[in-house]
């Protein structure tokens, strides 16, 4: 299998294009997905190839077009709805929680909503308080939807395909700082990636660092740094935030007995808390010490670089937390 270098953005683009080519029922809908080419340029050129019907520029109406996506899914289509960023998804939560997540159960299993919603998430681009949210945790709280966070280029391409094949709503969070990342992608047609399991991104024996999405690279950087001091970290990329793959986490804990969770969301009542609680429930007697969290400071994310950096998880803070847990 040959490989080639490609950006995360292009991986998303490819996956979109192939999905549109492969299935008439698939269409992409969202603000500026068409002539603008997508706020993050993921859909550039697609309107020229697939036309205005299937690359559907939507008015600024998040609740309206997300709800329309749900309805279209009920009606036999396979919509990919792009909410430009998670920040605007606040306007569409009623449709997601009260319709997409609920219709199957509430109808006694009659209906299903094969809908994919993609959105950019996270801070790191100096966009200030209203444009830097990480609300993955809110979505991960809701039964009836699946939530994934592709942190790698392979996942950016492969998870979209699997999500589209899923009969239930899947929310894909793409961290906005990843789009320009480059990496190798195997040339293969068979690139669907599972959307339920975590991945060991780095294997190690001293401590488990658990993270996802935009924090994976920072966590890997922290692990590399710690390795220089002889601290051997295992890094878990959760990949799926709902469901959460407990088995992979607990297996790692059985080996390392210590964990730090890294999550760009605000600390209180976020995803890191859930992972910590699960470890406490399922691996308590494996633990050699408290589970630590490295999260965003509980402030609206400020604009200046130094404050944004201070507000969000960074390799040095992750390393420091690991050292503290290890008392080294």
């Amino acid at each position: 299998m040959t490989a080639r270098t490609i950006t995360y953005r292009d991986a998303v683009h490819e996956a979109l294009r192939e999905a549109l080519r492969g299935d008439e029922r698939v269409f992409l809908m969202g603000e500026d997905v068409g002539y603008y080419g997508g706020a993050y340029a993921c859909s550039k050129g697609l309107i020229q190839e697939f036309g205005e019907e299937r690359i559907r520029d939507a008015p600024l109406s998040e609740s309206g077009f997300v709800g329309a996506g749900i309805g279209a899914a009920l009606g036999g289509m396979r919509p990919i709805v792009e909410i430009m960023t998670v920040n605007f998804s606040l306007l569409a939560l009623d449709q997601i929680v009260n319709n997409a997540a609920t219709l199957r159960h509430m109808s006694g299993g009659q209906l299903s909503v094969p809908l994919v919603i993609r959105m950019a998430t996270g801070a790191g681009r100096q966009l200030a308080a209203q444009h830097s949210h990480s609300l993955e945790c809110w979505f991960a709280h809701v039964p009836g939807i699946k939530v994934v966070a592709p942190a790698t280029i392979e996942d950016a391409r492969g998870m979209l395909r699997t999500a589209l094949a899923d009969p239930d709503p899947v929310i894909i969070f793409e961290h906005a700082t990843l789009y320009n990342e480059q990496g190798e992608l195997p040339e293969t047609d068979d690139y669907a990636m599972d959307i339920e399991s975590a991945r060991i991104s780095r294997s190690g024996g001293d401590i488990t660092l658990i993270t996802y999405g935009g924090s994976l690279q920072k966590t890997m950087a922290a692990a590399e740094g710690l390795a220089k001091d002889g601290i051997d970290c295992e890094v878990i990329d959760l990949r799926s935030l709902r469901p959460i793959d407990d088995a992979t986490i607990m297996a790692s804990l059985a080996k390392t007995h210590r964990a730090v969770i890294v999550d760009e969301g605000w600390r209180s009542v976020g995803l890191a808390a859930e992972i910590s609680a699960r470890i406490s429930e399922q691996a308590f007697f494996d633990l050699d010490g408290p589970v630590a969290r490295v999260c965003s400071v509980e402030v609206p994310i400020p604009y200046p670089r130094h404050l944004e950096t201070a507000a969000t998880p960074q390799p040095d803070k992750i390393a420091a937390a690991a050292r503290e847990v290890l008392r080294r």
């Binding site: 309206g64 077009f65 009606g75 395909r161 589209l164 009969p167």
Partner: protein, 334 residues
């Protein structure tokens, strides 16, 4: 009743219209009783007084069309032809209910009848209807999605967004605003600066008309013409049906905000009363026809109650069923 509409009404159609209205009326009266008997719980929003709307509109739809309604949707479900036993069992919360009892009175679903709820979030069904219509249009299926909602919903942002999407994309949606004058206890003039919901619809370049929602013949005629235009590819249509609920908003509502006189006045225009009187006057139907319809409704309701009573409860072990689709070898996206 408007003279224009009488012409085209056959005896069979008149029987159907009145039969459905009577069925809904008696069914809901029974529900009120069953609510007091604590067989039906939660919220119960009766449609009594508004029957002409569901009945008149549904006559214009074909089985392939889709329906989206609100929490006040038992009438719509019955008019759409859902089995009354299943509707009643749903009100009970029994496993034999339309939605396996999971939803209760506010969430009646029936995929076979393309009846997509039952939505307890005011305005929440509007974008769904837009999406169903979008799917039809993209699949080149000549179907209509009919969306019922109250005038209160017109204040929600989702109303605005849905009108715009439907008009912008010229989707085959029939919007039916059941304007009963009140959103819970808030009269329309206290919630809308422009109290004509039709004017709002028009501001999106949607064609529509005001309809006497107490007159089933008028509703039917308006719906037929609107559905015809939609099927003809002319885009969405809007009906504002002026109607009234004879009962309080829900079984919890002490109804402090309306005048007794107002209610009494509207009752004189009640759709069952009005249509019966007219049908007899015009000799389209006889009193014994009507008596027959009453008897049939009574039998149907007895049967529905028996079905509901006998239907089992969903076992507790099934609580977590159908949150997600069971895993099987899935078709892939390509």
């Amino acid at each position: 009743m408007s003279a224009d509409n009488q012409v085209s009404l056959s005896r069979a159609e008149a029987m159907a219209l009145l039969g459905q209205m009577i069925l809904i009326r008696r069914f809901e009266e029974k529900c009120a009783e069953l609510y007091s008997a604590q067989k039906i719980r939660g919220f119960l929003h009766l449609y009594i007084g508004e029957e002409a709307n569901a009945v008149g509109v549904m006559r214009a739809l074909s089985p392939d069309d889709a329906v989206v309604a609100t929490y006040r949707e038992h009438g719509h479900a019955l008019a759409r032809g859902l089995p009354p036993g299943e509707v009643m069992a749903e009100m009970y919360g029994k496993a034999g209910g339309s939605s396996r009892g999971r939803g209760g009175s506010m969430h009646i679903f029936d995929k076979k009848h393309r009846f997509y709820g039952g939505n307890a979030i005011v305005g929440g069904g509007l974008p769904l209807a837009v999406g169903l219509a979008l799917a039809d249009k993209m699949q080149k299926l000549n179907r209509v999605t009919c969306c019922f909602f109250g005038e209160g919903a017109a204040a929600e942002g989702e109303f605005h967004e849905s009108m715009n999407l439907a008009a912008l994309w010229q989707l085959p949606v029939l919007f039916v605003c059941e304007n009963n004058g009140y959103a819970m206890g808030t009269g329309l003039s206290r919630s809308e600066s422009e109290t004509s919901i039709l004017q709002h619809a028009k501001s999106y370049r949607i064609t529509g008309q005001d309809v006497d929602g107490m007159d089933v013949v008028a509703v039917r005629a308006a719906a037929l013409s609107a559905v015809g235009a939609i099927r003809n590819g002319e885009g969405p249509r809007f009906l504002e049906n002026k109607t009234y609920r004879f009962r309080p908003h829900s079984m919890f509502d002490p109804d402090l905000y309306r005048q007794k006189r107002e209610i009494a006045l509207w009752k004189t225009r009640g759709p069952v009363l009005q249509f019966s009187k007219w049908a007899i006057e015009t000799q389209l139907l006889s009193q014994s026809d009507i008596d027959g319809l009453e008897e049939e409704a009574a039998r149907t309701i007895d049967e529905a109650v028996r079905y509901a009573e006998e239907s089992p409860w969903e076992p507790e072990e099934d609580l977590e069923r159908d949150v997600y689709t069971p895993r099987k070898v899935e078709e892939t996206a390509r």
